[in-house]
Every structure is written in C-alpha cells, then in structure tokens.
C-alpha cells in the first residue's frame, strides 16, 4: 500500500520535471515553385521552433505574411488570394522525431524522420519528412525538406495563373535552436 503511494507520487513528480528544450525565433523556411513559365521563391526568416530534447517532440509556428518574395505583387497575391493570411495568419507544425530514443546526436548530422501535423490555410495534414539533426555545445541544428501539394490544403489557384504556380511546392527548413 505504502509502496503504491510512493510509486504514484514518483510518477506524478516525474511527469512534471521540466524537459530540456531547444528553441529559436529566427529559423528559416523557404519554398520554391518551379514551372516552365516562372520560378517563384519566398523566404521566411522569422520562424519559431522548439525541440524537446528528452522526447524528440517538435513544434514550429510561422506567420505567412513574413514570407518575402522577389516581387511585391506576388507577395500580395500569396497573402490575399492563396493562403488568405487575414483569415489564417499562422501556419503550424507539431510532431516528433521518430525512434528518437535510439538516436545518437552529435556534431555530424544524423538522419532523422519527423512525423507530425502540418497546418496551412486552416487545413491540417499528417506529414512525414526527412532531415538531419546535429548538436554542438548548447545548439541543435535541424534541417529538413518536404513537398506540399497545394490542393491538399484547399488552396485554389485560379485558371489564368495555373501555368505559373506549381501544384507541388518544395519547402526547406533550417532551425538553429539554442538551449533554453
């Protein structure tokens, strides 16, 4: 009886101990749309990301309006018509690094697979991405890339610009996270 109580208390305490976290507020996410007519590229340098170094859980938030395009009008169209930034200002990702407990993370990048939920334009999709994770002193560096099918997120591309915008957008992320 006493033992059981002890186990129970230990368990609760164990759960509330703060896990080690790494975080950034200026991670980079860029995306590329390539068609025979036009190549479009946009970069966001204000992406927030956090990694729980105990569990391998990861979360990331970005503001769609913080994507910078080469052409001002493209940026306006992206925000106004495609991702509708007024209605859906943020895009989020929440997931975990698979098989995290068996990984050894060091200075040379280790291949990782991350599985989680990506929310764009108010639509959430389950995704799995490939990347690398490395650590040096109190810094963790996570790099990954993946493809986004615009149709999966209810983003409509009107007829006249269909040839200019790719159906599949290539996304690259680079998070250099500091220990918090």
């Amino acid at each position: 009886m006493k033992n059981l109580k002890f186990v129970l208390i230990l368990f609760i305490i164990g759960n509330t101990v703060q896990a080690q976290k790494y975080m950034t507020q200026n991670g980079t996410i860029s995306f590329f749309s390539s068609t025979p007519v036009e190549d479009i590229e946009a970069v966001n340098n204000q992406v927030s990301a956090v990694l729980n170094a105990e569990s391998g859980q990861i979360a990331s938030v970005l503001l769609l309006k913080a994507f910078n395009f080469e052409k001002a009008l493209m940026q306006e169209h992206f925000n106004e018509k495609y991702v509708e930034s007024e209605k859906f200002p943020k895009s989020t990702f929440k997931g975990e690094i698979l098989d995290y407990e068996n990984l050894t993370v060091g200075e040379s990048p280790t291949n990782v697979t991350i599985k989680g939920k990506l929310t764009i334009h108010g639509v959430t999709q389950e995704i799995e991405v490939q990347g690398t994770l490395s650590s040096k002193q109190s810094v963790m560096n996570l790099i990954f890339d993946f493809d986004v099918d615009v149709a999966d997120y209810d983003i409509e591309i009107p007829g006249p610009v269909k040839e200019k915008i790719a159906k599949t957008i290539k996304v690259k992320a680079n998070f250099t996270m500091n220990k918090v």
Binding site: M23, V50, K71, E76
Partner: protein, 299 residues
Amino acid sequence: MKKIFLLALVFWLIIPLHSIAQEEEEEDLLGMLEDSQDPVTNYTIATFKNTKLVSGNSIETNGKGVLQFMIQHRFGTLNSGWRDLWGLDNATIRLGLEYGLTDHLNIGFGRSSFQKTYDGMVKWRFLRQKSGAENFPFTATAISSIYLNSSEFADMERENYFTSRLSYHHALLLAKKFGDKFSLQLMPTIVHTNLVPETIDQNTIFAMGAGTSIKLTGSVRLNLEYYYLLPDQVFSQDLTNSLSIGFDIETGGHVFQLHVTNSRGMTEQFLVGNTTGSWDDGDIFFGFNISRVFNIGEK
C-alpha cells in the same frame, strides 16, 4: 482481493494521467512558441486591386522598383447611335507610367488624347491601416498632379501664356478595408485651372469623392467611384457629377478593369472639372484600363 482492487484503481488513475500529461506536453510546445512570440503589426494589404479605382486614383501604390504601365481607354457614348457603332468610333486613350521610388512614394507620367493633355503626378502613402502590435484604422495617401494642355489655344488673337496651359489637382485619399471583402475610400479633391473658359468660373474648385470596392471572388472585384462637385463653382459649362461602375479582373501581373462611366476624361482634372455626361440621357462611356507591372529596380 483488496490488493487487486487497489492495483486496478492505480492503473485506472495512472493511465489517463499519463496520456493527459503527454498531450499537455505536446500542446505546451506550440503554446510555448506562441507565448514567446512578440506581437507583430499586421498591415492591411490589397485594399484595392489597382492604383486606379476606376478613373481616379486609389490609395494603393506600386512597390519599390515596380514600373506600372497602364492603357486607359474610353469609347464614345453609348447613345451615339448606329453610325458611330454606339460609341466605338470615338475613343479617347490615356497612356501612363507609374514607378515606385519606395513602397510608399510613387511618381507618374501620362498623356491623354482628351484635350491633348500631359500629366505628371506624385503620390505618397503616408499612413497605413494596421492592427496587432500597432493599430491604425485607415490608410491615407496624398496625391498631387500637374496637367499640361497641349492643344491649340481657343482664342489665338489674345496674348496666350504658357502657364495658361497648366492646371493642377491635389487630393487626400482616405481608405479603410472592412474585413477582407469590402473597402471604402473618401477623396476630398481640389482642382485648380489657370485658364478657365469664363471669368465667372472659379479657378479653384472643390469636390468630394467616394469609392468602394467589393471582392466578388479572389480575382474579381466590383468598384464604384463618385465625385461630387460642390455647387456654385463652374457656370460656363453644365457640369455633372462623375459616376463610374467597374469590374477589376486580375491575372497575375495584369489587372483588367472594365467600366461604364459618364466621364470622358481619365484623370481627376477631367472627372471633377470636365464631366458633362448624364447617366439619365445615356451619355455613358464604356471603357477599360489595362495595367501591367514590371519589376525593374531593386526591391
């Protein structure tokens, strides 16, 4: 028996606790990020589709390094009969260029076939509607234009001065976007004409403009533009208030604007000071603007 019961109770307690704790942890990471983010200022974009609402200017400016080329076209009046193919034979045209020196400061140059007029303008968006960390309820743009009428003087006998060819317009454009579908603009406007037809006419006339834009689909909008000329300013001509209705159709770097209006001219000088068409009598001009942007400078 008692032990088994207790064990069951403990499992019943622990298992949900464990999963709740896990879920909270996951929620926490996103929540933690949101908490750590500084509030940002969200500037309102795309109050209007183009730098022109219909014929007059909107608060919008071209971004830095963007060159906008515009072709504006008005056919003759719809009531001009079959011989003129209901106006198609009598078109007037304005060609214009606008360039973004900065995201908020534009300069422009144009030439209208109507009264063979050259125009130059400076447009400065000095306040922006924004929300979030900083709030401001509307966008304000100031615009000044100078016009040069290069047609022959009406009276060749008298001494004509170069300055008699000039006129000016200054306006304050105030616009607010409500939600993402509806925009409203007010434009108090002054037009000064150096040489007016008769001495009883005022050289400086005042008008109040109002315009709206309603988003119908992502790429199509319905626009209204109205200029109310304050009474007792112009006597030699029977002027009417300019009323225009138009659609914006956007395709990438192009904006097509199709409209009907009772104004033949395509700049504020003419909208305010030279609109003689009457909607009631069918003096309606069908017209269009084609706008194309080119990125020529550094962003």
